[in-house]
């Protein structure tokens, strides 16, 4: 039997970490992929049950606990859905600051992912500490950008991990002008750093791995969609959040406790590259110009461009935060009154990792009857499996086991799944037939 016809089993038994648990099973028989399964055990499922019976005033703080990295996404999506049901019209200040708050999360989450998770792969490093030895200035810059994102979240949320500033109807408080002035200076100072980050990210050599897939992201006529917008797909679909179930389906697979999502029966992509593919024309002109400089052609079919997509979105978020904080005034009230009503409602926003969809049924007292939360990681799960299969075939199944494992990790990390921490600890047992 030739090397190309070998049989290999790569089994990653447990990917254990707080934001998601999973495993990867890969079996190659006679030079072909006989089995490939990414198993994820997704925590948000438990939260849906926890929410039942709780008053709407508790929901923002409860859903923030779903993720330590992207709590704002969960808070803003829940607020959007409930405010729609209650007929709440945010005041212009709260509407703008919701986006600024969310920008902080994009900045910190993307910078962490680029520098601590993804970039080491492309420099032959096993972690960020090794990367810091060969690219200390870039890692320092990444940490500064990440810290600025956290600071922006703290400004409106009182803390960056599980913030507590958001309420249905707006925010509990409004930052003083002096604090806004201070952070505006920092945001402006970070612009050249973010531009340099894009150039650096675009210069990293990545595998050429073109694949066909459908991109799904929210889209808004006025701006690059983050905290509002309809759901769009690269095949032309444009629907409201209420129509999600008519086009997207979740199903159980025996090997995973997470639900697999499909769009018209097929895997699909959510996340930074999907957003950039669909909404790049909505980027600010300065960001567009820099993107053009990189030579990245959009829409991209190469998931390895996700790293540069995150860098682009960091610059976008800095620009947006600066724009919206320009002329900041402390409002008369940071929130508007809310009157609860019964009904069913949905909401969707763009978490750093992609589309996040919520559905709530509320009773007359403003308590949750039931809830559904569809996070980006479970939406991407089927796409990750598909990508792994295609990417491994393109990479070559005859590669050494370590190279196959590393390639699998790289592919998985492109999606920045909430199991990303665990995928950095991939240990595998190889059984040769």
């Amino acid at each position: 039997m030739s090397e190309q016809r070998r049989s290999v089993a790569i089994h990653v038994p447990v990917l254990t970490r707080v934001e998601g648990e999973g495993a990867l099973d890969l079996r190659i028989e006679d030079g072909d992929i006989a089995e490939l399964r990414l198993r994820i055990f997704e925590p948000p499922r438990f939260f849906e049950k926890f929410l039942e019976g709780h008053h709407y005033t508790e929901i923002p703080d409860m859903v923030a606990r779903i993720c330590g990295i992207c709590p704002v996404a969960y808070q803003v999506t829940a607020a959007q859905a409930l405010e729609k049901l209650f007929g709440v019209e945010l005041n212009p200040w709260a509407r703008d600051m919701r986006r600024v708050f969310y920008c902080g999360e994009w900045i910190q989450s993307h910078s962490l992912h680029i520098h601590l998770l993804a970039a080491p792969d492309f420099f032959g490093c096993s972690n960020a500490i090794e990367l810091a030895r060969i690219a200390p200035d870039e890692v320092r810059r990444g940490l500064r950008i990440q810290a600025l994102g956290n600071e922006l979240m703290e400004l409106f949320g009182a803390r960056s991990v599980h913030p507590v500033g958001l309420r249905i109807g707006g925010f509990h408080g409004a930052p003083a002008l002096a604090r806004i002035d201070a952070i505006r200076d920092k945001l402006a100072a970070a612009l050249p750093e973010a531009e340099a980050l894009i150039r650096w990210a675009a210069g990293i050599a990545v595998p050429q791995d073109e694949q066909a897939f459908v991109s799904v992201a929210t889209r808004h006529p006025a701006d690059y969609a983050i905290e509002r917008g309809a759901i769009a797909a690269s095949d032309g679909l444009l629907i409201e959040a209420d129509d999600f179930d008519a086009h997207f389906a979740e199903r159980h697979e025996p090997h995973s406790t997470a639900l697999f999502s499909t769009y018209h029966g097929q895997p699909y992509l959510v996340g930074p590259l999907a957003r950039l593919n669909l909404n790049h024309h909505r980027l600010p002109e300065r960001v567009k110009a820099l993107l053009n400089e990189t030579g990245l052609v959009l829409p991209s079919r190469n998931l390895f461009h996700s790293l540069v997509a995150r860098a682009v979105e960091i610059l976008l978020a800095l620009h947006e935060a600066l724009r919206l904080l320009d002329g900041y005034r402390v409002p008369d009230s940071p929130w508007v009154p809310v009157t609860a009503r019964a009904g069913i409602t949905t909401g969707c926003t763009e978490a750093p990792r992609g589309l996040l969809w919520h559905r709530y049924e509320m009773d007359d007292d403003g308590r949750v009857v039931n809830a559904r939360i569809v996070p980006p990681t479970s939406q991407n799960q089927a796409r990750i499996e598909e990508d792994l299969r295609l990417s491994l075939l393109s990479f070559g199944l005859d590669q050494p086991d370590d190279a196959l494992r590393l390639h699998c990790e790289k592919v998985i990390r492109n999606y920045d799944p909430c199991i990303s921490c665990a995928t950095h600890f991939l240990r595998m047992n190889v059984d040769r037939a």
Binding site: H113, L116, L117, N127, I129, Q146, V161, S420
Partner: protein, 155 residues
């Protein structure tokens, strides 16, 4: 630049509050955060710890540890005692040791870093810290206050 930065790391989970309790004990015994001394309580700072190391000459860092010893036991770690950090870093699991290891690579460590670990038992959300943990925090606070007084007096 702050000359001395005292950082108590913790979370609101049972004995894991010990870093915060040590800071409380320091303040209770008259230590004041003013001038060249900065005192902070941090809640799982992750990579954010690095920026707080960068701008100080002397950092005193207090955190909980679990090594199987009796809860309340205090241990001071020298730099040479830090185990080599061989795991991959992640955005979700970026702990104190990872931050220190990365700070070392980036040349961001202060000239003096006192790392204290206090052995803890259970760390369940919403629970109070045990009596032996509180006593250990107070004991360590007295030690740190005396160390600071002696060192800063000599300076």
């Amino acid at each position: 630049m702050s000359r001395v930065r005292i950082l108590g790391i913790g979370s609101p989970s049972g004995d894991d509050q010990v870093g915060w309790l040590a800071v409380d004990a320091l303040l209770a015994c008259g230590m004041q955060a003013k001038g060249e001394i900065v005192i902070e309580k941090l809640d799982r700072p992750g990579a954010g710890l690095i920026a707080r190391l960068d701008d100080a000459a002397w950092v005193i860092l207090i955190d909980a540890m679990q090594s199987g010893n009796q809860p309340g036991r205090v241990r001071r770690f020298d730099r040479k005692d830090w185990p080599t950090y061989s795991h991959g870093l992640s955005s979700h699991g970026f702990g104190v040791l990872g931050a220190l290891a990365l700070a070392r690579e980036l040349g961001s460590l202060p000239s003096r870093l006192d790392l204290y670990g206090i052995e803890i038992g259970s760390a369940n959300p919403g629970e109070q810290a045990g009596g032996e943990i509180l006593a250990a925090a107070q004991q360590l606070a007295r030690h740190i206050a005396a160390d600071l007084a002696a060192t800063l007096l000599q300076a």
